[in-house]
């Protein structure tokens, strides 16, 4: 056998952050999937709009602006502790990670609670007509995201407090923050559709 050269990788670091990690690409895949679901649901909304002379149909009132707008502000504000969590994770700073994740969770509790009021002020039930169905679907889809984001952030926070804290958990913290960004930013078009489309159209 002829001599075989080697490529020694033993000195490479056992992990990385950002787009260099596998987790990032996994998260990106999930973002594509869920982004497509949101986009198609919004598409379905506007498709139904074209089928009616007036929107919302049958003289229904548009959803009340107050709670939805409040929640938009809460969600946007949560981006600040979220970004600080992300940075703390990237710097492998357990102390800060713990602090900012708890703050994030407080925000998550807040926007999940406000969401209940949003549902109560849509001014239509899901079984009233297709307009009610699609509005509830849009809000419901986003709600499943803020609930799951709250739950998996809670688990991660618990892990960071209870330990054993493994190194790669900091990558998880970072990717959790990336996903949080997606959940908040995806809300903006949905907010526009649910609350403003009936007023503008």
């Amino acid at each position: 056998m002829s001599e075989v050269r080697t490529l020694d990788v033993s000195t490479l670091p056992p992990g990385a952050f950002g787009s260099r990690t596998l987790t990032f690409w996994g998260t990106l895949g999930i973002v594509i999937i869920e982004g497509t679901v949101f986009a198609l649901a919004i598409g379905a909304y506007f498709y139904l709009v074209t089928r009616f002379p007036a929107w919302p149909p049958h003289g229904l009132a548009a959803p009340d602006l107050r709670w939805g707008t409040l929640n938009t502000l809460v969600l946007l504000a949560s981006l600040i502790p979220n970004e600080l969590t992300r940075r703390a994770g990237e710097h492998v700073d357990l102390h800060r990670v713990r602090i900012w994740m708890v703050v994030c969770l407080a925000f998550a509790v807040a926007f999940n609670v406000v969401r209940v009021y949003e549902f109560a002020h849509l001014n239509v039930m899901w079984d009233h007509d297709a307009y009610g169905s699609i509005v509830w679907l849009l809000l419901g889809l986003h709600t499943t995201h803020i609930i799951t984001d709250f739950l998996d952030s809670s688990v991660l926070t618990t892990l960071m407090f209870m330990g054993p804290v493994e190194e790669h958990r900091f990558v998880d913290v970072e990717e959790n923050a990336v996903y949080w960004y997606f959940v908040v930013l995806a809300w903006l078009p949905i907010y526009g559709v649910i609350y403003w489309a009936p007023r503008v159209l």
């Binding site: 490529l7 020694d8 670091p13 198609l40 357990l94 899901w126 679907l137 190194e167």
Partner: protein, 652 residues
């Protein structure tokens, strides 16, 4: 970094095999995470569903073999054709292609594992449980009976009050969750786990095909999940998405469904073309001609595949301008496919061809698939489409495309890779018979259907009057189906015989050029005791003597080399997860949730609790020393700062 090295790692090799082994025993069987093990399960399970779907097809052919037949009643016939289509699309075609991807993508890119192996294991359980759910429902007389497309209002509870349409909708959820997860894993594997040196322009075409397909899955499958969820909501909690009486719209379903349904055809067919490119190159003994045009064809097919959905809706009476756009799109998509066909022919033209069984299937693929592609061009023409849409002409067309474009390449792949998977060779002589019989049986079954469609026979009819004059051609088709059944039985006999007592296969029996042939047959647990690096598109043909191998990965942990997306330069190492029971348990909990939710919306709420518990179990650290990771407080920080450049392995 480069030094001379003795490739035999000696004692480490045993340790390495032990590290990468899945646990034994019946309990261990539920914990497998090795992509080869999961891939084999995928292939076997999908093939099992192919056989079940085939049995249903045979029943339909018996019923239609003569006019006014009473072998099957309308109710059972409708259930059978719906379950046949649902099985073949969701439980066979997509999973079998993904199964090949799970098994071969890591091997072809020179990786020790697929990315997110536990997620892939979970996907398998989703496929298996979904399939079992469908067939148990079928046996309980609750199989879907509203077609694989499940159009409302027919699928709404007013017209289908039984649980049949719900079973269909939840089967979709099962299989799509699995497909989406596998797609993410395959993309990540191909982008991040390639052997050093495998730059973008050296990725095997089959891997390209899997990546392109996986991206299509990410964009297409959400549409059908959204649609089927809306349908379940309509049926379960009284929403009105598709209910005309309450401002809903029946065509909304068709838009959503075909936004998925048309790309679905390419999701099945693009991996098939990847197989053809692989096998044509090997048996022509030259690298594939036109690598760039072929890869671009795959990508452009994927893009265009999303612009064609309306050509399933020409009969709904759309405005003419819209129709013309979709006609043009549907016709233009023939260009990339044609380009690929010409490149294959050019490869053969300038190659040194040896015709063995895999190549026979590829030749069969050409004849059948080209015919199917051409009838596809006919169907793109709106006026002609309105005549033959929903007739047996279309049944003939898509069986030519899907059996020609996917099943024949799959059989080719089976004969091609069987030695790699099992270490044994199939019989060339029996293989030739199987091919001949299936080719003849296929054409005898499906060619007459073109004529039947033109003579007015609609799809999905359980019987027809004798006066229609469709009897003799239908009988011919049924005889062809019997021939196909014989071919499949012979194939099973050969496969089982070879598995038990076939001749031992060399590591590279076809003298192929891609990396899966660089390891033993079957591959060891770690895939590559010394992970390869590559210096060409067909490394086994083009690597210079003494091409470097990767060293320095731990033998006592599942240490994997992660590389850069574009140039596949070494980036960092990553410890991969151990075998685990949690994907199985999560699969069980998810199954409970899905089935429960058919009966009450509270099933989603209560059913989510065990799923959540299982997921926490999945991600919870198992022990202080799992895989030997560093624990807080870290003795010294192993993770670099984000802007630090890692010490790369240097030039290869």
């Amino acid at each position: 970094m480069m030094r001379r090295h003795d490739p035999s790692i000696g004692g480490d090799l045993e340790r390495l095999e032990e590290t990468w082994a899945d646990p034994n025993g019946w309990y261990g069987w539920f914990m497998h995470v090795d992509h080869k093990s999961i891939g084999r399960r995928y292939l076997l399970t999908a093939f099992g569903f192919f056989l079940l779907g085939g049995v249903l097809a045979a029943l339909m052919r018996v019923q239609l073999s003569r006019p006014d037949n009473t072998f099957l009643g309308p109710d059972l016939y409708n259930e059978i054709f719906s379950t046949h289509g649902t099985t073949m699309m969701f439980l066979f075609a997509v999973p079998v292609m993904q199964g090949l991807g799970i098994y071969f993508v890591p091997l072809m890119v020179g990786a020790r594992s697929i990315a997110f192996p536990r997620l892939v294991a979970f996907s398998y359980w989703m496929l298996l449980f979904g399939g079992i759910f469908l067939y148990v429902s079928f046996l309980l007389n609750a199989g879907p009976d509203v077609g694989w497309f499940s159009y409302p209002p027919l699928a709404e509870s007013l017209y289908t009050p039984s649980k049949r349409a719900d079973v269909w909708a939840q089967l979709i959820t099962f299989t799509e969750v699995g497909s989406l997860a596998v797609a993410v894993s395959l993309i990540t594997t191909a982008l991040k786990l390639r052997a050093p040196g495998m730059t973008l322009n050296r990725i095997p075409i089959f891997v390209w095909a899997q990546v392109v397909t996986s991206f299509m899955v990410l964009f297409a499958m959400p549409a059908v999940m959204l649609a089927s969820t809306s349908l379940i909501l309509d049926r379960l909690v009284g929403t009105h998405f598709f209910d005309v009486e309450h401002a809903g719209d029946a065509l909304l379903w068709q838009h959503l469904f075909w936004f998925f349904g048309h790309p679905e055809v390419y999701i099945i067919f693009i991996p098939g073309t990847g197989l053809v490119s692989t096998i044509v190159a090997t048996f022509s003994q030259r690298r594939m001609f036109g690598y760039l045009p072929v890869v671009l064809s795959l990508v452009s097919t994927a893009f265009m595949g999303f612009g064609l959905w309306v050509h399933h809706m020409f009969a709904t009476g759309l405005p003419q301008l819209g129709e013309s756009f979709f006609t043009a799109a549907s016709i233009i998509i023939a260009i990339p496919t044609g380009t690929q066909i010409f490149c294959w022919i050019a490869t053969m033209w300038s190659g040194r061809i040896v015709v063995r069984t895999p190549m026979l299937w590829i030749l069969g693929f050409f004849a059948i698939f080209i015919a199917g592609g051409l009838t596809g061009v006919m169907l793109a023409a709106v006026p002609l489409n309105t005549q033959v849409h929903d007739t047996f002409f279309v049944v003939a067309h898509f069986h030519y495309v899907l059996i020609g474009g996917a099943v024949f390449p799959l059989f080719a792949a089976f004969y091609y890779w069987f030695p790699k998977i099992t270490g044994r060779l199939l019989s060339e002589r029996l293989g030739t018979w199987v091919f001949g019989l299936l080719f003849a049986g296929f054409n005898l079954t499906f060619f007459p259907m073109h004529i039947l469609g033109l003579h007015g026979m609609p799809r999905r009819v359980y019987t027809y009057p004798a006066a229609m004059g469709w009897g003799s051609l239908n009988l011919l088709a049924s005889i062809g189906a019997a021939l196909m059944a014989c071919a499949i039985v012979m194939f099973l006999v050969d496969a089982i015989r070879a598995y038990v007592a076939g001749a031992a296969a060399a590591h590279n029996p076809w003298n192929a050029g891609t990396l899966e042939w660089a390891t033993s047959s079957p591959p060891p647990n770690s895939n590559f005791p010394s992970p390869p690096t590559v210096a060409g598109r067909e490394p086994l043909w083009e690597n210079p003597p003494g091409q470097a191998v990767v060293v320095g990965l731990r033998a006592d942990a599942r240490d994997v080399l992660v590389t850069h997306v574009l140039d596949a330069e070494p980036d960092h190492r990553l410890l991969f997860p151990e075998p685990s029971i949690w994907p199985f348990l999560t699969g069980i909990a998810t199954t409970v949730l899905f089935i429960w939710s058919i009966f009450t919306p509270w099933g989603v709420v209560y059913g989510a609790v065990p799923v959540f518990v299982m997921l926490v179990g999945w991600f919870w650290p198992k022990s202080a020393h799992e895989g030997g990771t560093q624990l807080w407080p870290f003795a010294h920080r192993m993770l670099p700062r984000p802007n630090e450049t890692p010490a790369a392995g240097g030039a290869i």
